[in-house]
């Protein structure tokens, strides 16, 4: 199993923990990845609103680079995953866009023949590796750890083919495979507000509050996320947003929990990067952590 | 096993043994009335041999229960307390008949429509039910064995109205070998449909699908077609109606006229001066004219109101010359009265479209470029006044058109009902307008109502074509410009409730989607045919769901928009249904009439003759030699008016004898 790896900007910044744990999980599950050489920012949702055509061309550069290696792409960041997928769709559906993109890529000696698939780790882990295989590799079952699986928007909507758009369950299965208890979480695909917290704080906070309170109501010890922005919002503004005075709960990447279960090194599990201490929660569940 | 009230020995030998059956009708009755208590009470009444309550009396087991009791308890009378007799009297009478009891030994008590469904207080409702049952028990004792009268059915059918509904019914019956008389008031058949250009949602051309049917009506040997004629009298009863028809003079001998229209060309009027009815006055016609090219029958008409010959008798009569040897023109033609016998009647008199003058705010009649939808149908029609070109009165093509929905519909100030077809025909017109003129089309609607096969899809298509849909009822159409861009335009003012602000939209042409109304003479017609109307004035069906084409008068059926707003598919379907109902009656060859006729006990008749003028059917005659009145049972329809009038009570009405009614009344009031 070899894939082209497209980390995206966030995983090099606020989302470092995601990358560290992700790579560790890849390793233990025997997934070989090769980072796309000199990948560039996908433009996220933002570039689209400034110059749509350009954003497709820029995103397509990454697709072309991967295609040159003949590898499918793994894009862990929700925004990247969406934009890369969307770019593919729009190049397929709109001849004009295709012309623009192809020409632009030619200029830098690249070609794009729509032969590359953009995958998400959830997809790869569940469908290429399989829950059984994962459980088999678990050394530290997350026994009794109550996790609220939070998918956010852009993984499942609108392009995810590997999971249900209304009620996705891939992460639930993976966490369960690691021995964790997945609590029901109706808001699992509700928007976290994206960059709203940065631009319109009061609105952003509202959206974050709903998510935290709901997780708490369902008795979660922690929320597992798949998106750097979601993780950032829920973690960094939790105290600010939450109504209850209850101590903040750790907001982790699902890969951190997997890494922990699969017995990765503390460095890889990267709890040190959390603003909310994780250790107490684990201690309470008697889950050993180096 | 049904819950039972143990048969009492209440039957005190003397009178006939009575069985009383109280129906739960699921919870319809039992939900309000304490049916058990009623049955138990009934069991205590004199003469009652058995009294039961049961879930559904009308069900097979329910009927079987009665029949079993009749055998086992030797019942001679039956009282069923359930729904309205108009619903199930037939059912239970049959049940009695099947076990050899005379069907008229039954009395029904209406404890559903008249009791459980209209009262909230269960206690009072139960008391009422008891009273009604008590009355029935006392009445039924006096019931006598009666025989229904069987009378033969005349196989001919009268169809009033030559629109699509009438046409379809006529052809269906004619093809089945029944003889049909079709009476149409206009000089041609075809009705509203003949005026349309296209039909929704398939957009196939109205003429293409209608004309063949019209011509086959004209040519079918089983159909006698009388256009320019009206029904003036109806007498008789189911299976045996006698009809008077007035045939207005068209001053043309139909048998001789070939429809060549040479007279029309030859008329001294070089061009028409009279507003053309068929084109709703959008064009002019001559005094002698053919309503429209495909008219059936292909016979011209002369309009005495405008023909010079009729005014001055000094006309050159170039038309007569032109007609030559055919000699089809007859200025002395007089109105004729035809009289026919038919067994069944189908009314397909259609509708009238709402007159927008009743709404001053939309400027109809004030602004030349405000049209009704029907006028626009003619404008769009290739055979219409403009040859299918959509041009305003000043000959210009409109660049923007506003279609106003619900004109004369869904409005307490005019008509409260939804006219059902306007949304769809407005969409059709919008499509044709855009297609033919490329104009911007705005639809102003309250709700878009497009239920029906392919209808919603048609709406979707219109949305795609870029027709504007503004959700809001138009307040006014004005030519007063509030903004430079509105100069020389008609401005439509409405709230765009979806954008949540008021808009003023200037257009060249305004189309009023007028609703459907009952014909102005609907009341007169229904009286003549002795049927009822809904409070709005639509002909009333016997049952809105289960008998939609029958009326409360046996042998009279309704089809098409005379019963309520209807589109073409529905009208045709209904016409087929009406034809089938008529055929079913005809092929049964006999009708059974209720035996509720009046009879005379000669010994008591004093021969005072006071009954004779009472009878609207001349069923009572005076027999001089006996000095007594005599009733012709065949003519008697059983209203009982003479009975009430007879001072010596020597006239009685079967099933409604004085004694029976007295017993019922006293039964109602007697205290238990």
């Amino acid at each position: 199993m070899k894939y082209a790896y497209y980390p995206g900007c966030s995983l090099r910044g606020t989302g470092k923990a995601y990358e560290e744990s992700l790579l560790a999980v890849f390793q233990t599950l025997g997934i070989e990845v090769q980072e796309i050489d000199n990948w560039n920012c996908c433009g996220a949702t933002t570039y689209l609103s400034v110059d749509e055509l350009a954003s497709y061309a820029l995103a397509a550069r990454n697709l072309a680079l991967a295609e040159r290696e003949g590898l499918d792409i793994i894009a862990p960041c929700a925004a990247c995953y969406l934009v890369l997928n969307k770019t593919q769709h729009y190049i397929r559906d709109y001849p004009d866009i295709k012309t623009v993109v192809i020409r632009a890529l030619k200029k830098i000696g690249l070609d794009y023949a729509d032969r590359v698939r953009v995958r998400h780790p959830l997809d790869v882990f569940l469908n290429d590796v399989g829950a059984k295989a994962i459980t088999a590799k678990v050394v530290k079952p997350l026994k009794g750890l109550k996790v609220a699986p939070y998918y956010g928007c852009q993984i499942v909507r609108p392009y995810a083919t590997f999971d249900d758009q209304g009620n996705p369950t891939s992460m639930d299965k993976l966490l369960a495979a690691c021995g964790a208890t997945v609590v029901p979480y109706p808001l699992k695909t509700r928007c976290c507000g994206g960059s709203q917290k940065g631009t319109l704080p009061e609105i952003g906070l509202d959206l974050i509050r709903f998510l935290i309170e709901e997780a708490r109501r369902n008795g979660a010890d922690t929320i597992a996320t798949v998106c750097p922005l979601c993780q950032f919002n829920l973690e960094c503004f939790q105290a600010e947003a939450a109504e209850s005075t209850a101590p903040s709960m750790p907001i982790l990447y699902f890969t951190q929990l997997m890494a922990l279960a699969l017995g990765a090194s503390p460095g890889a599990v990267a709890f040190r990067r959390s603003l909310v201490k994780v250790e107490p929660v684990l201690a309470a569940k008697e889950i050993a952590y180096a | 096993m049904p819950e039972t009230v143990s048969p009492t020995n209440g039957s005190n030998g003397s009178g006939p043994r009575i069985g009383v059956y109280v129906c739960h009708c699921g919870t319809n009755i039992a939900g309000t009335v304490d049916v058990k208590a009623v049955a138990e009470y009934a069991a205590t009444l004199p003469g009652v041999a058995v009294a039961r309550d049961y879930k559904y009396m009308c069900s097979d087991p329910g009927q079987a229960l009665i029949q079993q009791d009749i055998r086992e308890h030797a019942l001679a009378r039956v009282v069923v307390a359930s729904c309205s007799p108009l619903l199930h009297e037939k059912t239970f009478r049959k049940a009695l008949e099947r076990v050899g009891l005379n069907p008229f030994m039954l009395q029904m008590v209406n404890i559903r429509e008249h009791d459980s469904w209209v009262h909230l207080d269960g206690k009072a409702a139960t008391e009422k039910a008891k009273d009604l049952v008590r009355a029935a028990v006392r009445r039924v004792v006096l019931h006598k064995s009666l025989q229904k009268r069987r009378v033969p059915i005349n196989p001919n059918v009268l169809i009033v109205g030559g629109g699509i509904a009438g046409i379809h019914a006529a052809l269906t019956l004619a093809d089945a070998g029944k003889h049909v008389y079709m009476v149409e008031r206009e000089p041609t058949i075809g009705g509203h449909m003949a005026k349309f250009d296209k039909t929704f949602p398939t957009l196939d051309c109205a003429a293409c699908i209608l004309t063949p049917k019209m011509t086959s009506v004209g040519s079918n040997p089983n159909i006698t077609l009388w256009t320019y004629s009206e029904v003036t009298g109806v007498s008789g009863y189911v299976g045996n109606y006698r009809i008077q028809i007035k045939r207005k003079p068209r001053y043309i001998i139909e048998e001789l006229c070939l429809g060549c229209q040479e007279c029309v060309t030859a008329c001294v009027y070089k061009d028409g001066k009279t507003p053309d009815e068929f084109n709703l006055g959008l064009s002019k016609r001559k005094p002698v004219y053919l309503p429209f090219p495909q008219a059936v029958p292909q016979k011209v008409v002369i309009d005495p109101e405008v023909c010079i010959e009729f005014k001055s008798h000094k006309c050159k009569k170039t038309c007569v010359e032109a007609c030559g040897d055919r000699k089809a023109i007859d200025f002395n033609q007089k109105e004729q009265i035809e009289e026919i016998d038919v067994g069944t009647i189908i009314l397909a008199t259609g509708f009238k479209s709402f007159d927008p003058l009743r709404n001053p705010y939309y400027g109809y009649g004030r602004f030349p470029n405000v049209y009704t939808s029907l006028e626009v149908e003619r404008l769009i029609n290739a055979a219409g006044p403009t040859g299918g070109e959509i041009v305003l009165r000043d000959g210009k093509k409109p660049t923007s058109v506003g279609i106003i929905h619900c004109v004369g519909s869904r409005d307490a100030n005019t008509n409260r009902w939804c006219s059902k077809v306007c949304c769809m025909y407005s969409l059709k017109l919008a499509h044709l307008m855009k297609e033919r003129t490329g104009a911007e089309v705005f639809n102003f609607y309250i709700d878009m109502r497009t239920p029906g096969k392919g209808y919603e899809e048609f709406y979707d298509r219109l949305l795609d074509e870029g027709v504007h849909f503004v959700r809001g009822r138009v307040a006014e159409v004005t030519d007063w410009p509030a903004h430079p861009s509105e100069k020389g335009k008609l401005v439509i003012r409405a709230e765009d409730t979806l954008a949540a602000f008021v808009r003023r939209i200037p257009v060249d042409m305004v189309v009023l989607a007028v609703g459907l109304e009952p014909q102005p003479d609907a009341q007169a017609v229904r009286r003549m045919f002795n049927i009822s109307c809904s409070s709005e004035g639509w002909f009333l069906e016997r049952h809105p769901k289960l008998a939609p084409v029958s009326t409360f008068t046996e042998g009279v059926y309704i089809a098409g928009a005379c019963q309520g707003p209807r589109d073409i598919p529905d009208s045709v379907a209904q016409a087929g249904a009406a034809a089938a109902e008529a055929m079913a009656l005809i092929d049964s060859q006999f009708v059974e009439l209720e035996p509720y006729t009046a009879f005379i006990t000669e010994e008591e008749c004093s021969g005072c003759k006071s009954c004779i003028p009472m009878c609207p059917y001349q069923a009572i005659s005076f027999v001089p030699e006996k000095k007594k009145a005599a009733i012709n049972e065949v003519l008697c329809k059983g209203c009982g008016t003479c009975v009430a009038a007879c001072p010596s009570s020597s006239i009685q009405q079967n099933f409604f004898e004085d004694e029976e009614i007295f017993e019922e009344v006293e039964g109602l009031l007697a205290y238990a």
Partner: protein, 159 residues
């Protein structure tokens, strides 16, 4: 016709519930009452309906007998003028009604106790309002007191 026993209601102390007998014609008013039923138009439970084929069948004696037997009011229902299923029965009814009203007046029976209404098959709501209105009027009048000339009255009802 045989003489009838007059069995008037013992005027129960406490709340008085009028007992009203209605004579409805089969084609208009009876249908309207059915319609009121199918449309669940709730109304006062004080009326008991007797079905006649035509209001023209209504013999004034029916009304007198009803009063004699303890009715506090009588309601007569027929088709609107011109709508009679039997062409003109309801006109006859109207004529008799006028005479009947005079008679009742002489007998001291209040005007509101006997009422003729034209109600077509489509007017279920008219049935509801008419019944409710009549029940209220009769309730206001109280029970029909008759005992005064009961004997003479019997003469009235017996022919």
């Amino acid at each position: 016709m045989r003489n009838r026993q007059l069995t008037r209601a013992p005027v129960s102390a406490g709340t008085f519930e009028p007992r009203i007998v209605a004579f409805f014609c089969n084609w208009c008013t009876y249908l309207a009452a059915d319609l009121a039923g199918t449309s669940r138009m709730k109304h006062a439970p004080n009326v008991r309906v007797v079905r006649l084929m035509c209001s023209g069948r209504l013999d004034p004696q029916f009304v007198l007998d009803a009063f004699a037997q303890g009715a506090d009011g009588v309601l007569i229902g027929g088709c609107h003028p011109g709508d009679c299923h039997y062409q003109e029965g309801n006109y006859k009814t109207l004529r008799r009604y006028h005479l009947l009203k005079r008679l009742l007046k002489q007998m001291g029976i209040e005007d509101d106790r006997c009422r003729l209404e034209w109600i077509s098959a489509a007017e279920g709501d008219r049935v509801r309002s008419t019944i409710n209105d009549m029940v209220e009027r009769v309730r206001a009048l109280g029970p029909l007191h008759f005992n005064v000339e009961r004997e003479d009255h019997r003469e009235e009802v017996t022919v």
